[in-house]
Amino acid sequence: MKIVKALLAAGAILALTLLPTRAVTPDDTLVMASQIDDVITLDPAEVFEFSAAEMVGNSYERLIGYDLDDVSDIFGVVAESWEVSEDGKTLTFTVRQGKTFASGNELTAEDVVFSLQRALKLDLSPAFILTQFGFTADNVEEKIVQTGDYEFTFEMDQAYAPTFVLYCLTSTVASVVDKDLVLEHEVDGDLGHEWLKRNHAGSGPFAIRQWRPNEAVVMERNEHYEPEVPLARVIYQHVPESSTQRLMLEQGDIDIARDLGPEELQALEQLDGIKIQSGVKGGLYYLGLNQKNEYLSKPEVRQALKYLVDYDAIADTIMEGLAEVHQSFLPTGLLGSVEDTPFSLDVERAKELLAEAGLAEGFSITMDTRNTSDITGMGEAIQQTFAQAGIDLQLIPGDGAQTLTKYRAREHDIYIGRWGPDYQDPHTNADTFAANPDNSDDAAAKPLAWRNAWDIPELTKKTQSAILETNTEERARVYEGLQREVMDRGPFVIMFQEIEVMAMQDNVNNFIIGPSFDSNEFGEASKD
């Protein structure tokens, strides 16, 4: 009898496991499958990566914020108000009262001043956003000064356009950290950097509880945040394969899949209980044409290549739902962005231009291509259209680090890549696409124009004067001119603006996909 019972039990267990079951995540927990292998630090003074920027964006507050639907509308977050001095060089900020960190400490001007000074003293990759205003690790204590419990001054070396300054203060590097908590963990004067890399000291809607590299990040509700946060927990699960993400979403193991391809999204769209949400991002896909190359340095060739990309077909197929055609260096949403798309596939026109350049027979050239599916897909499509005008384009595949290293050393012919703005002011892109202060090999600043060896002293001056223009309309006009000039003769074939798409369960509400990578917000998200 015992054996019979055991067999029955085994049979029952087997039958249960074979039944199709649909997992469900808890009601107060949001689980996302995402590629979070880019996270190397969680310290806001250092974070410059896509995934980490989003996590920091949801767990820290910044001085200034902007309306996610209309980037031009800026408002104070930690700052309640600000005043610009007569000479335009000093800003006096009033800090909002009643904010509390996740640790329970109160947020005061002391924390804000400490955070800004800390970012400049540590001087890590994103610090350049603040050093633009003439701050250095040595002078910052005299330039950013606390003047009251809830007031401090911010003194710059020139009278920069106020919008430019404020947009820079919306970036991750201007996140406010909990001074007392961070200094408790200071080791050898590192301002708590080692500790903060893996921990959290912010006042945002969520607190980062745990980060296990290449595995998961767990965030929990900040109980002190006002208004109350609906979700108790948000979990990022590292799932590198997009097909796995899709299966997990279909089975209910996760609530949101973050890295799906167009074909997978199409298939998921048909399913009940799953919805697709997308938002236009600031990232641009472009080709960089190295001016050290004898062919690419000819203006007619640069022009011809702009007519040899089938923008519409790629946006409709390979990048369907993931990109839209955009040909100026300022993405839609930024001040002064030029929206028209003068270039389309025109093989005849391209052939004429090549003939003018004396290259009617075509030529052979290489393109460094990152071996991700989107970049390779675009690369192969471009290869085919280039071939129609006799240009033999050879793709050199490599991983992201390989191709980027070669690009940064400007040893490429053509580079196909993606550029994301660092903050929401047009200067962020103008400074890289339309400025090259020093074209020598050992230049200090190495913007995209430098990487493509485009020597443009005139344009650089124009770009640098634009940040001092205080009249916003006049400033927008300057940027429009810069974009037209780059479009016309620049060594960049700007093709698409990125769209971020997520597939999520129907019951997820109020997840906001913002225009930049640190503005995907789930502070108000809920499940029902």
């Binding site: 197929t317 390779t376 499509a381 085919q384 595949p397």
Partner: protein
């Protein structure tokens, strides 16, 4: 009248003559017997048919392909189409005809196999026979080098070489060849050791033949059969390594229709558009199996110890 008599002798009788009247006849006779025993093995014949088929497809690729393997159709309408009368095996993500790409890809596969063999087999044979015949310190040095190469998993070593040389089909071939020769050297050495002290070698040496001549004219030919068997059995491995490198983006560069690279690019569509990755997968499977079956059959025929 004997001449007439011999002419009326059928070709078969001439080949199977127990007392061949010339070296040529003896050689042809051996070959004929080998062929007879090979053709009695149906699996080996299947392998042979696959391999011959691959060679024919590679030769007549231009005639067999229905469309260009490089230039796709309209991205909007002809992308990721299922198998149909127009596209026999469907189209891929760049709207290219998969059948035509497979047909042209056979050239790459064959080229990789042939070039690797041409590079690796002589190297392995030479090192093995020299080491085996010379013995002493030369043997030790050559065999320790061989050991070092054998100590690495093959794909990993090939990966390291490609990473150092840069991606591309030529470099992939060189990398695979570098990793392929050590087993041949081992086999050739083992064979050499068994025959180096035989009487006929001693006789040749007494007649004043030099060491290079002995190795080249008397030892190598005797090592050749077992090395050929091993190479044929290895060809499947070579194809798989090449496909593996292509899959990792280190072999053939786009738009080359290399089968491994085709699988890699179809991977992301595998759930909804199964044919993109499956078709080249089947091609690799069939060709690898063909080489393996042929290799097995050849071993039965050529290996003197296994025979009868």
């Amino acid at each position: 009248m004997t001449g007439t008599f011999e002419r009326t002798q059928t070709l078969r009788e001439w080949l199977t003559d127990n007392e061949p009247s010339s070296r040529t006849q003896a050689r042809f006779g051996r070959a004929y017997l080998s062929w007879r025993s090979l053709s009695r093995n149906p699996l080996a014949m299947l392998g042979l048919i696959v391999v011959v088929g691959l060679i024919l497809v590679a030769i007549f690729a231009d005639q067999l392909a229905t469309q260009s393997p490089f230039i796709g159709g309209d991205l909007r309408t002809e992308r990721l189409q299922p198998p149909s009368a127009e596209h026999w095996l469907g189209t891929d993500s760049q709207a290219r005809d998969i059948y035509s790409r497979l047909v042209h890809g056979s050239r790459l596969t064959l080229m990789i196999v042939v070039l690797v063999t041409v590079i690796a087999m002589p190297v392995g044979l030479l090192i093995g026979t020299v080491a085996g015949y010379a013995g002493g310190w030369l043997d030790s040095v050559l065999m320790r080098i061989t050991d070092i190469f054998l100590a690495f998993p093959r794909l990993i070593l090939a990966l390291a070489f490609v990473a150092a040389l840069g991606p591309g089909i030529e470099n992939a071939i060189i990398a695979i060849a570098i990793t392929a020769w050590p087993p041949y050297a081992r086999i050739a050495r083992a064979e050499t050791l068994t025959i180096r002290n035989s009487d006929f070698i001693a006789a040749v040496r007494l007649q004043g033949a030099s060491t290079p001549r002995i190795i080249a004219r008397h030892i190598m030919p005797l090592c050749l059969p077992s090395v050929i068997v091993r190479v044929t059995l290895d060809m499947a491995g070579i194809i798989l390594t090449a496909a593996g490198l292509g899959f990792l983006g280190l072999g053939a560069q786009p738009p080359m229709p290399e089968w491994g690279a085709m699988i890699a690019s179809g991977r992301q569509y595998i759930i909804d558009y199964w044919w993109v990755a499956t078709m080249p997968g089947i091609a690799i499977f069939v060709v690898s199996l063909g080489f393996n079956l042929l290799g097995d059959g050849l071993r039965d025929v050529l290996d003197p110890k296994a025979a009868r």
